[in-house]
Each structure stands twice: as C-alpha cells, then as structure tokens.
C-alpha cells in the first residue's frame, strides 16, 4: 500500500533514509521550509536553502521514485527579528513558480511572541495575494494550545482565506477539535518520544474521525523517525482498523489536500 509523508525535512536526512522510505511504500513527500538547528547568519543562507529545496532534494528523491515537493517561508523560530524576516520573504516570490513548490510553509508561531505573530500575518498576506496553499506549524508542548488559538484568530481576523486550503500541523488531543471544527485540515506529527506517539495518533483518529486529517513524521535533524508514517499504519492495523481507514489517513487525505496544487504528483 503506497503512502505519502506530507511533512518531512529531508535536507537533514541521509540518502539511506530515502531508500528505506521507498522500501516502506513512500511515493511522495512534501518538505516545509524550517529551522536548520541553528540561526542562519544572513538572508543569503535562505537563498541557498531554497535552492536546495527546489533543485537538489527533488533530484535526490527521484533516485528512489519518490516525488519531492516543498513549501517556502521563513520559519517562526527565526522570525523574532522582523527586519531579517522581511528580507528573507522578498526572496520567496521568485521561487514560487518552480515545479515542486506547493505554497507557503511552515509558517506559524513558536513561542507566541508579538514579532512571530506579525511575521506570520505578513506570510498570510503573501499567500493570499499570490493564491498559495498554506502549511502551518503550531508550537510545541506548553505553547501549543495558546499558539493554535492565536493562529486561528489571526487567520479569521486578517484574511478571507479558505480554511480548506490551509493545513494546521502538529495537532494533539487538546487542539485537534479546535482546528477541525474551524474547517481547517489538521496534521498529526508522530515523534519517537517527547510528543505524539503512533498509539495516541490512532486514538485521535478514533475520537475525531478521518475527515481532513493526516499523519506525518516531521523527520528532521533532531530525534525523529522518517518511518513513523508506516509505523502508525502498523499500529492501526494491529488494533484492527480497516485497510480503507488506514489508506484514507496515510494516502488519500494528503493526496486530496495537496492536489489542490496542480504541481503535486505521486508519479516518479
């Protein structure tokens, strides 16, 4: 059964990971622009990063018949300096027409600060002006609930963006309903230890259903697992879920949301 990992940071992973993902059934991925584990010293660092996301990674993925797509932005961890963030944002439009770019992401909040919120709202404006799909990062741990509320408020207050074209990621037990009830798509990110496990993701699916919900690994430079989507499928199967439910959550739903961009494809 093929699967899509709609949120994974392959620039931080080895080519061996691509091989193992392909063996496990991965046919397509999407990679949001994010923090590199350190702050870049100049906007030029982002220019090179955007080239990596649009030139080098698609070629590396293609060796394993995995279609690579990406999202562009300056992430909230590096948005505390608005002048710097705005300079990076001026680089985005020239990359948006590249064949694997799906939209703006992962924008959002990290510590729920005023500057993060300002830069988030400016990204929403850019997405609205250029009619782009949006992928949103919600803060982790103690900051998640407050950040998710601020994000939803900001979208409703400042834009007339269609919630069906926005995915709000990293939902957990206390934020899934809030995101889904407001008409957005919701992503669940599976982590090996500190956050949502495959067992709890399966619980959330049982509580809220499969509509507008997907799972991803958010594999990156930290402790994370690029095979967590297939592991969650095994967990659901072990519990007795049908192949149809499993396919909906790990393939059909990401296919439906992402196909709103004509650039998304699962064919090598």
């Amino acid at each position: 059964m093929p699967y899509i990992d709609p949120h994974i940071h392959m620039v931080s992973r080895t080519t061996d990971d691509y091989a193992r993902m392909a063996q496990a059934g991965c046919v397509a991925i999407t990679e949001p622009a994010f923090w590199a584990g350190y702050d870049r010293s100049s906007p030029k660092g982002f220019y090179d990063y955007f080239r990596q996301l649009t030139e080098y990674e698609p070629a590396r993925a293609a060796q394993f018949n995995i279609r690579h797509h990406c999202w562009l932005c300056i992430n909230p961890k590096e948005a505390e300096d608005p002048g710097f963030a705005r300079e990076v944002m001026t680089l985005i439009p020239e990359f948006l027409d590249r064949p694997n770019v799906l939209g703006i992401g992962e924008i959002g909040l990290n510590k729920n600060s005023k500057n993060e919120l300002t830069i988030f709202e400016e990204h929403l404006g850019l997405a609205q002006q250029l009619d782009q799909l949006i992928l949103i990062h919600t803060p982790h741990l103690e900051d998640k609930l407050k950040g998710t509320r601020l994000i939803i408020d900001a979208i409703k207050r400042n834009t007339n963006l269609d919630p069906g074209r926005i995915l709000i990621d990293h939902v957990e037990e206390h934020t899934a309903k809030l995101v889904l009830d407001n008409g957005f798509w919701a992503g669940m990110t599976l982590y090996p230890d500190t956050k949502c496990t495959p067992q709890r993701a399966a619980d959330i699916i049982e509580m809220y259903g499969t509509e507008r919900l997907w799972i991803n690994s958010a594999g990156d430079w930290g402790i994370s697992d690029p095979l967590s989507v297939p592991k969650c499928r095994v967990e659901m199967k072990r519990r007795g879920h049908t192949d149809e439910t499993i396919e909906t959550i790990s393939y059909r739903n990401p296919l439906t949301f992402l196909s709103q961009s004509s650039k998304f494809s699962t064919h090598g």
Binding site: E80, N115, L141, E142, K146, E173, M207, T210, G240
Partner: protein
Amino acid sequence: MSRYAIDCPATKSQVVDLYFMEHRAKLLDIAAFLDRYDRAPADDEGHRGGAAGEDFRVAALRKALRILREDGPERARRIQEHFSDMTEQPIEKAPMQGALGVPPVSRT
C-alpha cells in the same frame, strides 16, 4: 451510537492484551523518576519556582497524576490542558527557542 467518530476496533480485553505491559512499564518509569528526584541532592541556589522549593515541572507532574486518578473521558486532553500556557495575549519577546513542557509559574 458511539460519541466518538470511529469505534475502537479492539475489544476491552484486546486493548489490555495489546497495551498493558507497555503502560505498566511506563507507570514504573514515572515512579522511578520521582524516586530519583527525591534521592537527588538539592541545588546550590534552590530550584526554579514551584511550591515549597519544588521544581515547577515536578509540581505540575504531581498535579497531572491527580487528573489521571479522576474518572471521566479524555484524560489525555485534560492533562494536555493542565500542561498548557492558558494566557491569551502574545508575549513581548521570545525568551528562547525551545519549550520546557510546562508553562512558567507566572502563566499557569
């Protein structure tokens, strides 16, 4: 009709067979962590915040254990909320990039 979107396909005894050992071990992990915390010597300059000099994260963990013991649905959601910053306004400036798992005492 179930109050949930999809009925858990496993029966109660199947749920126990699948998960009991794993969660028995996780409970022992919590017990051993609290024992370890009790055995550890005090810090030179006192702990970060919290009642009676206790680390605010451990104090929050002990409170979460009380939620575990209560009956009623959605214990996971209630514990998540207990560990959340419940203030509503954005903060002035991000003090760091990471998170601690529990809000600072001023924002509980």
